[in-house]
Structures are given as C-alpha cells and as structure tokens.
C-alpha cells in the first residue's frame, strides 16, 4: 500500500492546508449528493477520498487540463460559483489546474507550454467545455494559431479520461441548433471519428452543475480506472442522470393535485404550483437538478418560477438532437413525453387548459414510481397498468407493447422475490 496515504497522514495533510475535518466531511456530503448517493454514503466517500492518492504520499494534486472549445465560459463560471468546496480550495488543494483559459495566471506561449508539459507527463484528466466546432477544417475556433480541434485531439490522446462538460461539449448544444453554422458536434463523436479511444464522460447541462463535475472528478480519482465508472448508454453518470426532473421536483405534489401555473407571474406562481402548462420539460429531461440545486444550493430553475427547458437533453451521437432543437418553442408546446426508454407523444391533446391537464394525467399514470423518489429511486414502470390491461386502447406509444408488458411482469416478479434493483 505504498502509494496510499494512511488516514492519519491524510488528516495532517488536511490540517496543513487549513481544511478542518468538518469541512472535509461537508465536501464529501456535497459529492455524495451530487453523485446521487444517499447521505448515508458520506462515510464511504470520505474513506475513499482518504485512501486515495490525492495530495497524499506522492505529494501530488491530480493534474487537470481545462480546454475551452466553442464555449461561452458558462461552465467555468458555474464552477467558480461552487462553495462546498469553494473554487479556490479546489484549484489549490484538490486538483492542479495546469491549464485554464479563464483562471490561469499565465498567458500566451507560457500557457501553451504549461499544457504541453502536463500532456507529456500524462496521468491527467481533460475537461473540455464548449462545442467542437468543425467548420472550415476546424478554423471556426483558432487557438495559438491552431484549429481548436487539433488541441482537443492532442490533449485527449494521453488523458486518463475526458470530461465533456456542458451540453455543448456533449453534442454541440445550442451551437449545433439548426442551421448549425459552425458545424459543431460533441467531444465523444469527434474523438471517435479521430480514432481516439480515451473514455469520455458526458455531463450535459447549460451550464453543467459544478457539483456534478466534482462528483465525476472524485470518481475518476478514486477508481483510478475510468472504465469502472457507472455510466449509462450515453456515457452519463447514472447517479446524476438516471431520473427525470419531474421525478424529484419540489412542485410535484401540485402536479398530482392538478394545481398549475397557467400564466407567468401569476398568483399561482406565488403559491409554487406546477409549471407543466407553461412548457416545463421536467417530465422528459433527465437530471437531478431538483436535488442538487444551483449556486451553492440556493435555487434552481423551477424554484425561481421558470419551467425546465430541457438543457440537459443531449444525444452525444447526434448533434441534431441538441436541447435547443428538441425543446423549442420552450413555453408553448409540449413535445413527446419521455418515460424510461419510451417516448409518448401527447397525441390529439389541444393547447387548451383542459387538454393540458389531461396531458398531465397521462404523464402522471406513467411517471409514478413504485417506491419513493430519492436515493436512486425505484425502477420506472415500463408500462402504465391501464395500458397493460387494455393494449388496444393504450394512450401513448410503446416500442413494442407486448415486450413492455413482459418486461414489466418480469420486474414485478423480481421485486416480489426481494431482488429490488
């Protein structure tokens, strides 16, 4: 165990950096929540962090290169707002941020040198923010007289893992919205085309929640093998993007009571009613925003009175399925409702008040969970009970209704046998 610090060594390292045990556990708690773990997992996170090599026997901080592609710097900004731990603690005490176009003291060639040295030394994480703009052979983005795409490939090749941070990095984001003038795409797709096989972890969001990034960084550092990360088919961390906004929404109770906001700035908004009729994409967008919140957990979109506009919607394999393209117009119409792996178009439901409530009830039937909503939650119902019993009159579309019924039965069986998840 030579490469592992003992707990007492770790404590003294913490002490030497002025980090109290208490604030360290607070950090662990934040990471656990952001990663979708129960607070009961805090001691495990703490133990794992203590036994890792961050800042331990090697005296090393984990090197991070943070490259901005065709970005708005919003994800960096978002990162700068993090409080537990604060950004200063992270860049001075947890990671060694060797290249950041926004925060680095260096400039020009000195910056590029710092990056080159880090790449040569290897064993670092690359965080890439912004879209990969490919127009004009990558010259839509030029850094240090090079097309931006070349910088991405160079840095990604030797990285332990690439974190595609924010919806732009995942699949082009708004930059890829029609007509995609800069021919933007996501990091994963570009690296695939370029033949780079470094693991890409996708963290969508506009901006991505900084606590999600911290959770992923800690995971990468802890596991020391990014291929062991628990990712879904879109390479997103399961704990963060496993459930919909709607599943964990603070206004969900009002949805179920049929209490809605129909007009912005209304008395209903003051009461905190459900925003579904003004276009909320909560039922179809997967992320744990409502649990982690933004800006030191002060608020999030729905809390402030704004419907979710689905900014975490990003198919890494297809820039056309970016969140702007999929979700505009934001406030007027409802698109297909996503339940688990199914999408349900609210067919024939007019844009009237009663129609909207009817639509909500459809969602309600699909969205209910067997057990609670937090801590990973129970598996989503594969098929609404009524639909299973009346396959010919089912509201909504299933890829294969028979298959769904069988799957649902199998799952019920598993639950009965105490298998749980």
């Amino acid at each position: 165990m030579e490469n592992q610090a003992t707990i007492s060594e770790f404590d003294s390292i913490l002490a030497s950096r002025g980090v109290s045990r208490r604030s360290f556990l607070k950090l662990c708690g934040a990471i656990a929540a952001a990663a979708g773990l129960s607070q009961l997992a805090v001691p495990r996170v703490a133990q794992a962090l203590e036994q890792s090599v961050i800042g331990a026997t090697r005296g090393d901080l984990y090197p991070v290169i943070w490259i901005e592609g065709a970005s708005c710097t919003g994800c960096t900004e978002s990162f700068a707002q993090i409080e537990s731990p604060d950004a200063a603690t992270i860049v001075l005490e947890i990671i060694s941020l060797n290249y950041s176009e926004t925060l680095s003291a260096a400039a020009g060639h000195s910056m590029e040198e710092a990056k080159a040295q880090t790449i040569e030394a290897g064993n670092y994480i690359l965080v890439y923010e912004g879209a990969v703009a490919t127009a004009w052979n990558g010259n839509a983005l030029r850094v240090a007289m090079e097309p931006g795409v070349d910088a991405l490939v160079q840095a990604a090749k030797s990285a332990n893992a690439v974190v595609a941070l924010g919806s732009c990095a995942v699949n082009g984001g708004w930059c890829a919205a029609y007509p995609n003038p800069s021919q933007s795409m996501g990091v994963q797709q570009y690296l695939q085309q370029a033949g780079v096989d470094t693991v890409v972890v996708n963290i969508p969001g506009c901006p991505a929640n900084p606590e999600w990034l911290m959770a992923v960084l800690v995971d990468v550092v802890l596991l020391n093998d990014p291929t062991l990360l628990d990712l879904n088919t879109m390479n997103e961390p399961v704990g963060i993007f496993g459930q919909t906004i709607h599943d964990n929404c603070e206004r969900r109770g009002h949805f179920e009571n049929g209490e809605f906001v129909y007009h912005f700035g209304s008395e209903e908004e003051k009461k905190g009613y459900c925003l579904y009729p003004v276009g909320c994409r909560g039922p179809q967008t997967r992320a744990n925003c409502g649990i982690v919140l933004y800006n030191d957990r002060w608020s999030w979109c729905v809390k402030s009175g704004a419907p979710c506009i689905g900014c975490c919607e990003a198919n890494p394999a297809n820039p056309n399925q970016n969140w702007v393209q999929v979700n505009t117009p934001f406030y007027h119409r409802h698109r297909d409702i996503r339940i688990g792996d199914w999408t349900v178009p609210p067919v024939g439901i007019a844009l009237t008040v009663t129609g909207i409530i009817a639509a909500c009830l459809v969602v309600h039937g699909f969205g209910m969970k067997a057990f609670g909503r937090m801590d990973g939650g129970a598996p989503i119902e594969k098929i609404r009970k009524w639909d299973a019993e009346h396959p010919d009159e089912a509201i909504g579309q299933y890829d294969d209704i028979q298959e769904a019924i069988e799957e649902e039965e199998k799952q019920t069986e598993r639950l009965k046998n105490g298998g749980g998840r």
Partner: protein, 557 residues
C-alpha cells in the same frame, strides 16, 4: 523591429490573439484577433422572441443576464409591451447582481493577476500586512497568518496549478512591483473576491433559478414572483456584498495605483465612447418615450466625442464593415440591416485576421465599457458618479473635472470600481423598493403582447459595455436578428479608412520590455475586460436564403 504575440490571451471570456510590432521597446502596430465563430443570429431565426431571449443569453456565460435583457427589450418593443414597474425593479436587481459578480471577478480574479503576485506574498510579514491594510483603510476579513501558512503549504507541494507558467518574472523580474505585504493583502482579497462574486450570483439564482444562464427574464417582464422569504434572502445578501465592496475595492485600487503609476502613461485608445445605458430609472415608463427611458437610466445612455461632449444615440449611425474579417466581401452595412456571410480564409494581418467584425458609430471606432458608462453618467451629472469621479481623479494625481486622467490602462482599470460601489448600493435600494412595492399591493410581473408582428431594438449594457440586440418578428417568429456586443466595439479590426480598432489603438505605444512576456500589453488588454465569445457573431445574409422551420408541432424525431 520585432513581433510580440499573446495567444491565447487568458483570464478573459473566449479566445483572443494579440499580435504586436515592437520598435525600440514600444508597440508600433497591433492586431487583435477574435478566435471563435459560432453563429448565434442564424440559430434564433424562425424561433420565437421568448426562445431567442433564452438562447442568446448562452452567447456568454459571464454576462448572460444582459443578453437576456437586451433581447427581451427588443422583443417587447417589437410586441408593443411596456413592462410593469415590478418587472423593471426585478430586472434591475438581477442585472445589478450580475454587474457585481462580473466586476468583482474581473478586478481581482481576471485582471488582478497582472498586478498581484501571490507567490511573492510568501515573503510577507503578516503583522505588517495588518498595519498596511489599516493605513490603506481596506478591509481585514482574512486571517493573514493562516493565509500565509496555506500559501506556504501550496508552494511546498511544488505544483503551481493556476499559477503554472506565470509571468511573475516578466521584465527581468521588475514587471510586478508590489511589496510582499501588499501582495499578501491583495491575495487575501483575491480569495475573498472568489467568495463574493459567487455570493452575488446567489441573488441571480434566487431571481433567475441559476447563474449563469438565468431562466425568468422574458419578453413581457419576468416569471419571478417574490415571496417574503426570497425578498429577505435578497436583502441580506445585497447588504453583505455592499459592506465588503464599500470597505475593500476602491481602497485596494488606490493602494495599488501608486506602485503602477507607469501604467497610467499608455493605453488611451480611440478616446470616443458609446454607452447605451442600463438599469431603468424610477418614474418608469416616461410615457413610453424610449429616448427618455435611456436617458433616465441609473447609468444613462450617452455617445461621447473626443472632447467628452455627450449626444443621444441615433440607430442609423451604427454601421459594420467586414473587409478585414473572415466574412465574404468588404461591404459596410447600416444598422439594423447588416449582411454578412462567414468565410474563413487565412490569418493575415495585411488582409483578414479575425472573426470580429468592425462596427463604427458615425464612421468612427468607439470604445465601450465601464469607463464609457461612467463618463456618460458624469456628463449627464449623476450626483454619486460626479462626486466619486472627482475624488478619484484627485487621488490619481489629476484634477477634479478632468476626465482625461482616466484615459489610460490603469485609469480604465481603476474607474470601474466606482461603478461597482454605485451598483452595490443601488441593489440594496432596489430590493427595498421592491419590498415596498409588493407591500403596497403591486402585483403585476408579466405583460402579454399586443401583437406578434413588429420590429424592435434593445439598447442596453453588459458589464463589458454597450449591447445592442435588434429583431424583426412576423407572426411570433423571428425573421431577422442582429447583435452588436461591447467587445465587438473594443476588439474591432482596422476599418475601411485604415484606422485601427479601440484596443489596437490602446496597444500602440505600450512599452514592451520582454517580447516573450509583454505584461503591459496584457494589462492593457485586460483593462477592457474583453469577452470574445460574444464578440464574434454573424448576421443573416440578405441573399433571399430562407430557413425552413424544422419544428413540427409535436417535435422532431
């Protein structure tokens, strides 16, 4: 004769390259190149103005709120909406929170490292730092001894993190001039600033859901309806920020300035200024008169010529030229009918060298930014600004009433703290104003459109300067959208008459001792707080090219 370049310029938003010709240690020619193209205006075509307000704010993660507001104003003017008084106050608070966030972050965390060397702070005696802070009248919220221990542990670890490849040794070790004590004091405030800029964003989050990219400001007003708890939270945060700003920022500026008096000798720029004004004033809506609304803003609209004479903005005097940028042709187009088509050729400073277009007002390059706003407010006789500017002018060795003392790299850097102080006090006032309005029963936050066809322009300010959004809407769908961003003014390339853009002009004459680390050039660039992500944008070619809508009512699958 030699070339010196900075590429990439760091501690800014976006991608920027500076190339300079240096003769006998002084910059004799300069070219500024914006490195990234994304094409925002094309993306909002055929979408709704409400969608546009959400999408265009994503042009920049540092000043998204300003874009959301300028876009909302454009939409409101197209739709014939006058927003309610409550919506006006709420948007002022939200915009103010962003100004505080942005100004604090810029001064300490972005521009600050051009003047402050945290590693030199390792040599400080903490007791003397207290004495220094007291004599400078600045705040002492940090335990300097603990900070020194923390820095020492960091330095002993050997990894430099964000200080990797720093320029602290530039100009043969003479580039950074602060004493170790002053460096430690400023490092303490650098770290405190990280905390307070985040605190300012909490206000944005309370009103807008999250920052960056707030969710509630929209065409018609705001979706945010304050509750008592939210108002209490806003007031507590606003007061805490005001306390820190008012006891720290101007004091630090004046303590730092004497060490860098050389930096007052260069960096003037073009000497003409545009400010479209920001923070709509009390007495709203002035009978719906847009010009009066802009003049009555807390930071009023004003166009200033070489002798600081102020005039009102005239939209058709704004033009754009693209002969030196990566777009087709070399035409000059008049607002709001810009026509451009992107086309990357090659980086060649004698021909085309940037993604940034070249805007002009009445045919001339203009500087935008905090200094422009403060000059406009001074000339419009805003009492607080007049008093503070006169005091600072005297403190910097000039005379009260003489604005020319600020026309330099350091002056531009210093004057912004007056704005930060002004806005931090106003935000407290506005929260109290909103509390009174709500208590008196005022409950309108959102106003529906009168029509869904029209055209409108939002003249507004981002922290970095004059911001212009203009749109034409037909049946609720955008048919044309134009944006002119503050940094487009400042980073403009050479115009049709061969005249350099404002930042290029400011760079010419800057002393460069060290071609590898031209620190004074970097200081000059940062004094503008450039933000290139949004500076680069294009507009719809008027070629009859038509964008089909790809959205079916029930989605794209």
């Amino acid at each position: 004769m030699a070339r010196s370049t900075i590429d990439p310029v760091t501690r800014i938003e976006g991608h920027l390259r500076i190339e300079m010709e240096v003769n006998d240690g002084v910059v004799s020619d300069a070219w500024v190149s914006g490195g990234c193209f994304r094409g925002m205006e094309l993306v909002v075509q055929n979408r709704t103005p409400e969608d546009a307000a959400q999408i265009v704010e994503r042009i920049c993660g540092v000043c998204p709120i300003s874009h959301a507001h300028a876009s909302s104003i454009a939409g409101e003017r197209a739709y014939g909406i006058t927003i309610s008084n409550n919506a006006r106050i709420i948007r002022n608070i939200l915009e103010g929170a962003q100004f505080l966030h942005s100004n604090i972050l810029w001064f300490y965390n972005l521009a600050g490292l051009d003047y402050i060397n945290p590693l030199n702070g390792l040599n400080a005696n903490p007791d003397e730092v207290y004495a220094l802070a007291q004599s400078a009248g600045t705040s002492t919220n940090t335990d300097f001894k603990a900070l020194l221990d923390k820095l020492t542990a960091f330095a002993n670890n050997g990894q430099l993190s964000i200080f990797s490849g720093n320029w602290f040794a530039s100009d043969n070790g003479q580039g950074y001039k602060l004493t170790p004590e002053m460096d430690l004091l400023c490092t303490a405030h650098y770290l405190e600033a990280l905390k307070y800029q985040a605190m300012a964003s909490r206000m944005s989050a309370i009103i807008g859901g999250k920052m960056p990219h707030v969710m509630t400001s929209t065409v018609g007003g705001t979706m945010f309806v304050p509750t008592e708890q939210k108002l209490d939270d806003l007031l507590a945060i606003a007061r805490e920020i005001y306390t820190w700003v008012s006891t720290t920022m101007l004091q630090d500026t004046l303590a730092l300035a004497p060490f860098y008096s050389d930096v007052m000798k260069f960096g003037k720029g073009c000497g003409r200024y545009v400010a479209w004004g920001v923070f709509d004033g009390p007495g709203w809506p002035y009978g719906g008169d847009y010009m009066q609304q802009m003049i009555n803003r807390y930071l009023p609209m004003g166009v200033l010529n070489e002798s600081f004479q102020v005039s009102n903005v005239q939209e058709d005097l704004i033009t754009e030229y693209m002969g030196h940028s990566w777009y087709v042709g070399d035409g000059t187009y008049t607002s709001p009918y810009f026509v451009t088509e992107p086309d990357y050729t090659d980086y060649n400073v004698d021909d085309r060298y940037t993604w940034v277009k070249c805007p002009a007002y009445d045919g001339k390059p203009m500087e935008a930014g905090s200094m422009a706003r403060i000059f406009a407010a001074y000339q419009r006789r805003v009492p607080f600004i007049v008093e503070q500017v006169n005091q600072m002018a005297t403190a910097l060795g000039g005379e009260a009433g003489d604005l020319s003392v600020f026309q330099s790299t350091l002056g531009r850097t210093a004057i912004r703290q007056i704005e930060t102080l002004y806005v931090s006090a106003l935000v407290v006032d506005w929260v109290e104003e909103l509390m009174e309005a709500v208590a008196s029963g005022d409950s309108t936050y959102f106003t529906d459109p009168m029509t869904t066809t029209g055209a409108g322009t939002g003249f507004w300010e981002a922290p970095r300067g004059a911001l212009y959004h203009s749109e034409a809407v037909e049946g609720g769908k955008i048919t044309g959208y134009q944006i002119i961003i503050p940094s487009t003014w400042n980073l403009a390339p050479i115009n049709a008459a061969g005249e350099h853009g404002p930042m290029e002009q400011a760079l010419i004459g800057v002393p460069v001792e060290d071609l590898e680390m031209p620190i004074n050039a970097l200081r000059t660039v940062h004094s503008f707080d450039p933000c290139t992500a949004c500076a680069v944008h294009i507009t719809e070619p008027a070629t009859g090219r038509h964008f089909e809508t790809v959205t079916s009512p029930w989605g794209v699958k």
